[in-house]
């Protein structure tokens, strides 16, 4: 186990290194670093000084080492626009994105699991076919357009829900959260539904496929032969077994949800990391872009690592395969 853990950690570190190199090359090699890192309003003397200070007169590999060293100390540059450390800006916005992503995941599970279960148990009923057709629609609907339609119906025409911003927030553990206030929660509903749409479809399909497979297993037949009630078979024997793949995929998808919140946040003007990165790209605030990318990379690698390790704990075959 220790060897496995160590190897996975080393691999993760290698990926971080590769990604940092890619980001570095993206910023430094594709664009003109002077233009990127020094505010365009700076005059000639300031530029010269900044080039010296940033070490841009050094050879590229030395610059990379400097960049890496700074990154390790948590220094990913300062935002031109906000004149604040880029990393802090992103961490400030992170709770907004996290609460949206977590909310969307919970919502998707609450809706997707029962629907998928039903569709799997009664594959030929018209309701199941409707659920399945709905899930195809959920995969096909462009998220941003659904967001616009939600705003049109619930904010503009019915006037039930607010369409932009986070609403009232409460500070807990030094971070501002919306889901703890009534107003904040009302602001969260539409973005949350919007973000969960794709996941609901995914969970419906996974659950349905899982149920149909599991229902044919011998242990289900045996449970039925023992005379257990259908409800007990469904909830205890079938449901427990399909939960493992579903939870794995949902866990892996969590990173995707955070990434995709870029779209939802832009539609609903939700002040999270995603909105920040789009705004930063539009004004070419590159230090923020770099910092966002590095934070996301770290997040992804952590998620993958956690899922991998959990998997190897649950299923020893994964662990032994590499030997």
């Amino acid at each position: 186990m220790t060897v496995f853990l160590l190897r996975r950690l080393l691999q993760a570190a290698a990926v971080v290194l590769v990604m940092s190199l890619l980001v570095f090359l993206g910023v430094y090699a594709i664009g003109d670093p002077v233009e990127i890192l020094i505010s365009p309003e700076a005059d000639q003397i300031e530029r010269e000084r900044a080039i010296k200070a940033l070490g841009l007169d050094l050879p590229l590999w030395q610059q990379y080492l400097v960049f890496l060293g700074n990154a390790l100390r948590g220094d990913l540059g300062r935002s031109f626009v906000f004149n604040e450390p880029a990393l802090r800006l992103i961490l400030d916005r992170m709770p907004a994105t996290l609460e949206l992503a977590v909310g969307a995941t919970i919502l998707a599970l609450l809706i997707g699991l029962p629907l998928g279960l039903y569709a799997g148990l009664r594959p030929h009923s018209p309701v199941s076919k409707g659920i399945l057709a709905g899930s195809i629609l959920g995969f096909s609907l462009p998220t941003f357009w659904v967001g616009l339609m939600l705003i049109m119906v619930f904010a503009v025409q019915l006037g039930w829900l607010p369409s932009t911003g986070r609403g009232e927030t409460v500070t807990v553990l030094g971070m501002r959260w919306s889901f703890l206030t009534r107003d904040g929660l009302a602001h969260m509903i539409m973005p949350m539904v919007n973000l969960s749409l794709f996941k609901i479809s995914l969970i419906i399909r996974l659950t349905r496929a899982g149920v149909r497979e599991t229902m044919l297993m011998d242990y289900v037949k045996f449970a039925r032969a023992k005379g257990l009630s259908p409800a007990r078979i469904t909830l205890v024997h079938v449901f427990k077994n399909i939960l493992i793949p579903v939870v794995t995929v949902v866990g892996l998808e969590f990173g995707g949800t955070i990434a995709f919140s870029v779209v939802t946040e832009s539609v609903f003007a939700w002040p999270g990391m995603g909105k920040l990165i789009i705004d930063s790209i539009n004004v070419l605030d590159r230090p923020v872009m770099v910092a966002y990318l590095m934070v996301i990379v770290l997040m992804f690698i952590t998620i993958n690592l956690v899922v991998d390790i959990t998997y190897s704990v649950l299923d020893p075959r994964v662990r032994l395969e590499g030997k």
Partner: protein, 306 residues
């Protein structure tokens, strides 16, 4: 289904000779929904191709636009005497015409990037399967790396560095999509290359290139077609999303995503049609492709054969 590729049914068709292609067609047609999807998609492609001849107005021709016609409701008649069935946008552009022309761009970008990604991905996947060893593990590592990051994020970053433009969007889409093709082709090719017909070809001392392109590749096509269909739909959706975020196609070449983005600010004042109809066009396109792809997967997947 070893040597026959799709197409070319026998000319002197004796009543009901079953060829693999015919079997494929009849199996595909078993699903009415898929057939419907195919018809809808064909119509969409047709109107997109014919847009310059059937659109009421040329949305690129500034002389035909009148700012006085801006934001007209669906069904109203503009100053130039055209009935705007789907309304007009803020520039006085007829939405129906805008959608027809926008479809051209969306479809071109979607199909173009899917084909390019297919060529790149299939080549690399084939190389990985055929070369094996270190080449294989290097390529597959790259695939894993690519697939572990969400497409939207990777595309966003590439466009942030490259800037707007149709070509840049295509590049970004190819970069985020090639891995799916590579993985699919490698998986199939690994199985196929152990088959006897490949062994036979090798015994005949055919050149490697010939074995790969004439023997191995045609037999890897079915899963590739399925992935390709799905990826076209994904590419169209992704392009629309990127354009909506303002990072995709330039304003001079409005795809459906950009049309929707244009209507965003008018949404709050109740002028829904500027965003609504292009979205419907986008939705119908994507759903029809997915319906076809779903059925293709069922038909072409040998594991599901009864």
């Amino acid at each position: 289904m070893s040597s026959t590729t799709a197409g070319a049914p026998p000319v002197a068709a004796a009543p009901r000779v079953e060829t693999p292609f015919r079997r494929f067609v009849s199996e595909f047609a078993e699903s009415r929904l898929a057939l419907f999807g195919l018809v809808v998609f064909a119509v969409i492609v047709l109107v997109a191709v014919l847009a310059p001849w059937i659109a009421p107005q040329d949305p690129y021709d500034l002389a035909q636009l009148d700012i006085m016609d801006g934001r007209l409701e669906p069904g109203s008649v503009g100053g130039s005497g055209i009935t705007h069935w789907l309304g007009t946008d803020d520039q006085g552009r007829d939405m129906l015409s805008g959608i027809l022309y926008g479809l051209r761009i969306s479809l071109t970008v979607g199909a173009g990037s899917a084909i390019l990604a297919c060529v790149v991905g299939a080549s690399l996947g084939m190389l990985a399967a055929y070369a094996g060893g270190r080449t294989d593990s290097l390529i597959m590592r790259l695939v894993d790396l690519q697939l572990s990051f969400p497409a939207i994020l990777a595309a966003l970053m590439i466009l942030a560095f490259l800037g707007k433009g149709i070509l840049n969007v295509v590049i970004a889409l190819v970069v985020v999509e090639w891995a799916y093709y590579a993985r699919t082709v490698r998986g199939t090719a690994l199985v196929e290359r152990r088959r006897e017909y490949i062994e036979a070809a090798q015994c005949l001392a055919l050149p490697t290139r010939r074995i790969i392109f004439r023997h191995l590749l045609p037999n890897c096509l079915p899963p590739l077609i399925v992935v390709g269909t799905m990826q076209v739909a994904r590419a169209i959706a992704l392009e629309a999303t990127l354009s909506f975020l303002g990072l995709g196609v330039p304003i001079t070449e409005p795809s459906l995503g950009l049309l929707i983005a244009n209507g965003y600010e008018y949404m709050l004042s109740g002028k829904y049609w500027i965003s609504f109809y292009p979205g419907i066009a986008l939705l119908v396109t994507i759903v029809s492709i997915n319906l076809v792809g779903d059925q293709l997967r069922d038909v072409l997947n040998p594991r599901l054969k009864k």
